[in-house]
C-alpha cells in the first residue's frame, strides 16, 4: 500500500515552482549600490540596510555599546524626543526596527507609498542624528540590564555563552553581544556616540529594497537617506581562532530539563565544499521530522521535543552547531545517540535515497522563502553580505542538484569531527561522564 503511494508521488514530481524574483542591481546618482525587486501590486515598500561588523566592533572598554546604541536609535533624533519621534512614526503607519548581532547592525523598514518621503525623513534622522538623551539612555539601559539579568538564569543563554567562551577564546565572538551587567552599567553617552561612529558607515553597508518603487525613485531616496553617513568606521577584527576539543562541560543549574549546545569547527561559506556540507547537514539534523537526529532522538526514543544541527558560517569564524533539550535523567542517552549519529555520518556518509529526498526538499523549498517584501529584502542583503551575486537565486538549486553521494562521503570525512564534538550541558544531567566545570 505504502509503496504504491510512493510511486504516485514520484510521478507528480514535475518541474518545481520557481521563484519569480527579478533582482536589479542599481546604483544611485550619488554612487550607492543596492539590490531592487520592483513590485507595484501593493502600495508599500520594504527597505533593509545592513552594516557589516555589529557588536564585534565594540571598543574593548565599552562592551555592549553597539547594542545599547542601536536600542536608542528610535528613542529620539534631531528635534524630536523619544515620544515625539514615536508619535510621528505611528502617524505615518510606518515601521522601522533596528537590530544588532555580532556580525551586523540591521535596519528593517516598511513604508506606505503615500507618505514614503516623510517616513524616510524620520529614518534618516534616526540614523544620522540620534539624540542619546540622558533620560532615554537610562530608560533603555535599564531595559537591557533587565534582559541581562534574565539571561543569567536562562539555560539556553547560559549554554550559548559557555560555548562561545570556550570556542572563541579572546576574540570578540566570545563576548556576550549585549555586554555584561558591569559593562553596560558603566557605558557613557560618549561610548554610544563612539559606537555609532564605529558601526554606521557606508563602506560596510548593503541594501535591499522591495515593492512599490522605481529604480530612479530608489536612487533619489538612498542618496538623500545616506548623504550624511560617514564613509568609514572602525576596522574589522581578525578572524577568530576556533578551538573546540571533544568532551562534555556541565554548567550546573537547578531545572528539570537539561539543555545542550554541541558542536565543533565548521566550514566557510565560500569553501568549495560548502554545498555538499549543507546538503549533508540537512540529512543529519537540518530541520524537519525526517532528519536522522529527529528520527533517532525524537521519533524512535521520545528523548526530546526537538534536536537540530546547523552550519554557522559567520564572518570571522565557521562552526558546526547543534542543540537538544532532554529531561535531566535522559540527557545522557540523548547525547549517546547524537554522538553515534555524528560518527555514522563521518564514516559512511549518506545513501542515494537520502540524498534524493534532501535534494527534492531543498530545491523545492527554496522558492517558498521569497514570501513577502520584507523577507525578500532581508534575503537580498544577506546574499550581499555573503558575497553572492544576483544570479545566485537562479543558480543555487543547480548547485544543490550537483552534489553526489561521493561528494558527501568525502566532505563528511573532512567536516564531521566526532572526536572533537563538545557538549555544553546546562542543568542537572544524570549519569554523564564528565569533569564538571
Amino acid at each position: 500500500m505504502t509503496r504504491i503511494f510512493a510511486a504516485l508521488v514520484s510521478l507528480c514530481l514535475a518541474a518545481p515552482a520557481w521563484a519569480d524574483v527579478t533582482i536589479k542591481e542599481v546604483t544611485s546618482p550619488g554612487g550607492v549600490d543596492a539590490w531592487l525587486v520592483e513590485d507595484h501590486s501593493i502600495p508599500f515598500m520594504a527597505l533593509e540596510l545592513r552594516f557589516r561588523g555589529g557588536t564585534s566592533l565594540d571598543a574593548d572598554d565599552a562592551r555592549g555599546a553597539t547594542n545599547l546604541m542601536v536600542g536608542l536609535l528610535e528613542e529620539g533624533a534631531g528635534e524630536l524626543d523619544a515620544r515625539a519621534f514615536a508619535r510621528e512614526l505611528e502617524g505615518l503607519a510606518a515601521s522601522i526596527s533596528f537590530d544588532s548581532s555580532d556580525d551586523d547592525v540591521s535596519v528593517s523598514a516598511r513604508f506606505l507609498s503615500e507618505n514614503r518621503e516623510d517616513a524616510v525623513r524620520l529614518l534618516k534622522l534616526a540614523l544620522t542624528q540620534p539624540r542619546f538623551d540622558e533620560d532615554a539612555v537610562e530608560r533603555v539601559r535599564q531595559q537591557v540590564l533587565s534582559g541581562l539579568r534574565s539571561d543569567a538564569r536562562d539555560p539556553n543563554k547560559l549554554a550559548g555563552e559557555a560555548f562561545a567562551a570556550m570556542a572563541y577564546g579572546t576574540h570578540p565572538y566570545a563576548r556576550p553581544e549585549q555586554g555584561t551587567i558591569t559593562s553596560v552599567s558603566a557605558l557613557t553617552r560618549e561610548d554610544l556616540i563612539d559606537a555609532h561612529l564605529r558601526t554606521i558607515a557606508r563602506d560596510r553597508l548593503f541594501i535591499g529594497a522591495v515593492g512599490d518603487i522605481t529604480e530612479e525613485e530608489l536612487g533619489t531616496l538612498l542618496d538623500d537617506l545616506l548623504s550624511a553617513i560617514p564613509e568609514t568606521g572602525a576596522s574589522f577584527p581578525d578572524p577568530a581562532e576556533v578551538t573546540i576539543d571533544g568532551g562534555v562541560t556541565v554548567v550546573p543549574f537547578d531545572t528539570p530539563q537539561s539543555v545542550a549546545l554541541f558542536g565543533h569547527r565548521g566550514i566557510d561559506r565560500d569553501d568549495p565544499d560548502f554545498f555538499p556540507a549543507f546538503v549533508m547537514n540537512h540529512i543529519l539534523g537540518g530541520g524537519g521530522f525526517e532528519s536522522r537526529l529527529m528520527t533517532e532522538v525524537r521519533e524512535k526514543r521520545g528523548l526530546t521535543y526537538g534536536v537540530y544541527s546547523y552550519l554557522l558560517p559567520k564572518d570571522l569564524a565557521a562552526v558546526y552547531l547543534g542543540s537538544v533539550a532532554s529531561a535531566n535523567d535522559r540527557m545522557a542517552e540523548a547525547i549517546d545517540v547524537i554522538r553515534a549519529e555524528w560518527a555514522r555520518m563521518a564514516e559512511a556518509g549518506v545513501t542515494a535515497e537520502e540524498l534524493d529526498a534532501a535534494k527534492t526538499y531543498l530545491t523545492g523549498a527554496y522558492p517558498l522563502r521569497f514570501d513577502g517584501h520584507g523577507r525578500i529584502a532581508s534575503i537580498m542583503t544577506g546574499m550581499q553580505l555573503q558575497g553572492l551575486g544576483v544570479d545566485y537565486i537562479t543558480t543555487r538549486n543547480a548547485k544543490v542538484e550537483a552534489v553526489t553521494v561521493e561528494d558527501i562521503a568525502r566532505v563528511a570525512a573532512r567536516v564531521m569531527q566526532p572526536d572533537n564534538l563538545h557538549f555544553v550541558v546546562v542543568g542537572q544531567p544524570e549519569g554523564l561522564d564528565v569533569a564538571t566545570e
Binding site: M1, F5, D20, E90, L112, D254, G302, A357, L368
Partner: protein, 447 residues
C-alpha cells in the same frame, strides 16, 4: 508641522477604502455537502499554496481528566494511517519541497502544508486520509507521550514565566476549561492512553467540524473540485456534539497569585481581567477593548508607558494584551516590569492609579486617530501576507465567528469612539473581577 502631516495623510487615506476592499475580494467561501466549510484566499504573485485544515476542537473541548489530549492527538496524526506509514506524510511533503506542521490552541487544532501550487491535490489526499484513517500502535502512544512531556518540560517546566502564566490562567478561569493548560497538566499527560486519544478523535475529527483554508496561487473552482473529490466522500458525523463548555460565573472577588521561583531574575506583575470576546454579529465591545489594549500598553506612546516609564520611572516595560478571538469569555491582561528599586507592591499601586486616572482623563483624540490610521494601513500590509490572512480566518471561524464577521471587523474598528473605549474600560478594568499575579524570586534569594 505635525498638523500639516496629519492633513496630508487624511487626504492620502481617502483613496484607500477601495483598495482595502481587495482583501475581501480575494476571499471566496463555500460549504461542502458534508458540512465542511471552505475558504479560499487568492494571491497569484508566487506559485505557492498553503493548505490548512482547522478543526473546531481544541484543549477546551477535552473531557475532564484528559488535559493535553487534543495536543497529543495532533502529534499522533503524523503517525500511520491505512495508506501512509508513520512519518510518511511529512516526508512526502518534504520530498515535494514543502513544509508542514500543526498547532493546537484552546479552541482549535490546525494542520498545514506550504508547498508548490501544483501539489495541492496530493496535500488534500493525505490530509483527508488522516481525518478518519489513523492507525496507532501502543508504541506510538508510549514514545510520543515522552515527546509531549519533553515539550512541556521545554515550554513550561524549564521556564518560570511559563509556570506563572499557567497559574494565572488557572486562577482567572475557575469554571471554564481555558483555565487548563493547552499542553495539559503533567500528571494527566502521563496517563493519556490509546483510549483517550481515539475517543477524542472519533468525536471531533469529521468534516462537519472543520474549516478548510487554502491560500495562495489557486482558483476557487479548482479548490472546490479537489475538496469535493477528497473531503467530499467523508460522511459528516451526525453525533458531533454542540460546543457547550461550562462558563465562568460572574467574578465577585479579586484573586491574587504569588509564584516564587529561584530561576526568576526579573520579577514582574501581571493583571488579568475577565473580558468579553468577539461574538458573531456583536463585535463592538471587543473592538473597543482592542483599542483599549493598544492605547494603554501598545508601545512608547501608550498611556501606561507615559505614566510609568516617562512621567515616573516606575517600570522598565509595560504592555496590555487582549485576545478577542475566542469562543468563550476571554481575558484582558496588563504587564508591568518594575524598575530595579521599585517593589511589586509599588508597581501595582502605580498601575492602579494610572488606570483610574485614565478613566478620568479620557482618550487622547490624536492617539486614537493615529491608531486607526495604523489599522487602515495594516490592511494594506496584510495583502503582502496571504498566510496571515489565512490564519485570521482560521482562528475566527473556529472561534464562533463567520466570514462576514471577519470582513466587517476593520470597518467596526474604524467606528469605535473615545466614549466606547472609556465605557469598555469601566466595564472590564474592575479589581473585583481581576487576578493580580506577582512573579517573584525565591525567598532565600531576596533575603
Amino acid at each position: 508641522m505635525l498638523r500639516a502631516i496629519a492633513l496630508s495623510l487624511s487626504f492620502a487615506f481617502a483613496g484607500w477604502s477601495a483598495q482595502a476592499q481587495d482583501i475581501n475580494d480575494a476571499v471566496t467561501s463555500f460549504e461542502l455537502d458534508n458540512g465542511m466549510q471552505v475558504v479560499v484566499i487568492e494571491d497569484h504573485r508566487v506559485p505557492v499554496v498553503q493548505h490548512m485544515l482547522w478543526y473546531r476542537a481544541g484543549s477546551a473541548d477535552e473531557p475532564i481528566g484528559s488535559s493535553g489530549v487534543a495536543h497529543f492527538l495532533e502529534h499522533l496524526l503524523f503517525k500511520a494511517t491505512d495508506s501512509l506509514a508513520a512519518g510518511e506524510l511529512s516526508a512526502t511533503v518534504a520530498a515535494n519541497g514543502g513544509r508542514d506542521n500543526a498547532f493546537t490552541s484552546w479552541d482549535y487544532t490546525a494542520y498545514f502544508q506550504r508547498v508548490a501550487a501544483d501539489r495541492l491535490d496530493l496535500m488534500m489526499r493525505m490530509e483527508a486520509d488522516r481525518m478518519v484513517n489513523i492507525r496507532l500502535t501502543d508504541r506510538d502512544i508510549v514514545t510520543e507521550r515522552q515527546v509531549i512531556i519533553e515539550e512541556r518540560n521545554q515550554r513550561i517546566e524549564n521556564n518560570p514565566r511559563g509556570l506563572f502564566g499557567e497559574q494565572m490562567n488557572a486562577a482567572q478561569f475557575l469554571n471554564h476549561r481555558y483555565g487548563v493548560p493547552i499542553i495539559g497538566w503533567m500528571h494527566e499527560m502521563e496517563t493519556l492512553d490509546m483510549e483517550d486519544v481515539m475517543a477524542f478523535y472519533d468525536v471531533h475529527y469529521s468534516p462537519n467540524n472543520t474549516v478548510l483554508i487554502v491560500s495562495g496561487d489557486v482558483e476557487p473552482e479548482e479548490v472546490r473540485t479537489l475538496a469535493e473529490k477528497y473531503y467530499g466522500p467523508i460522511p459528516a458525523n451526525p453525533a458531533l456534539p454542540e460546543r457547550v463548555r461550562s462558563e465562568e460565573p460572574p467574578q465577585r472577588a479579586e484573586r491574587r497569585v504569588i509564584y516564587r521561583d529561584a530561576r526568576v531574575a526579573q520579577p514582574y506583575l501581571q493583571r488579568s481581567y475577565l473580558a468579553p470576546e468577539r461574538d458573531a454579529g456583536v463585535q463592538e465591545k471587543a473592538a473597543a477593548l482592542t483599542f483599549l489594549a493598544e492605547i494603554l500598553g501598545g508601545g512608547t506612546t501608550s498611556y501606561l508607558a507615559e505614566k510609568l516609564q516617562f512621567d515616573n520611572q516606575v517600570a522598565v516595560y509595560v504592555g496590555a494584551f487582549y485576545r478577542g478571538v475566542s469562543l468563550d469569555d476571554t481575558s484582558f491582561d496588563v504587564l508591568v516590569v518594575p524598575a530595579p528599586d521599585i517593589s511589586l507592591e509599588e508597581a501595582e499601586a502605580a498601575l492602579d492609579a494610572a488606570l483610574a486616572q485614565f478613566v478620568q482623563d479620557g482618550v487622547d483624540a490624536d492617539q486614537l486617530e493615529r491608531i486607526k490610521m495604523q489599522l487602515r494601513a495594516s490592511e494594506i500590509y496584510a495583502r503582502d501576507n496571504a498566510e496571515g490572512i489565512a490564519g485570521r480566518y482560521g482562528r475566527a471561524l473556529t472561534s464562533g465567528l463567520t466570514v462576514e464577521d471577519v470582513q466587517a471587523w476593520p470597518q467596526i474598528l474604524q467606528t469605535v469612539t473615545e466614549e466606547d473605549i472609556i465605557e469598555a474600560a469601566r466595564a472590564v478594568l474592575r479589581r473585583e473581577a481581576s487576578v493580580t499575579g506577582w512573579l517573584m524570586q525565591a525567598e532565600e534569594a531576596i533575603q
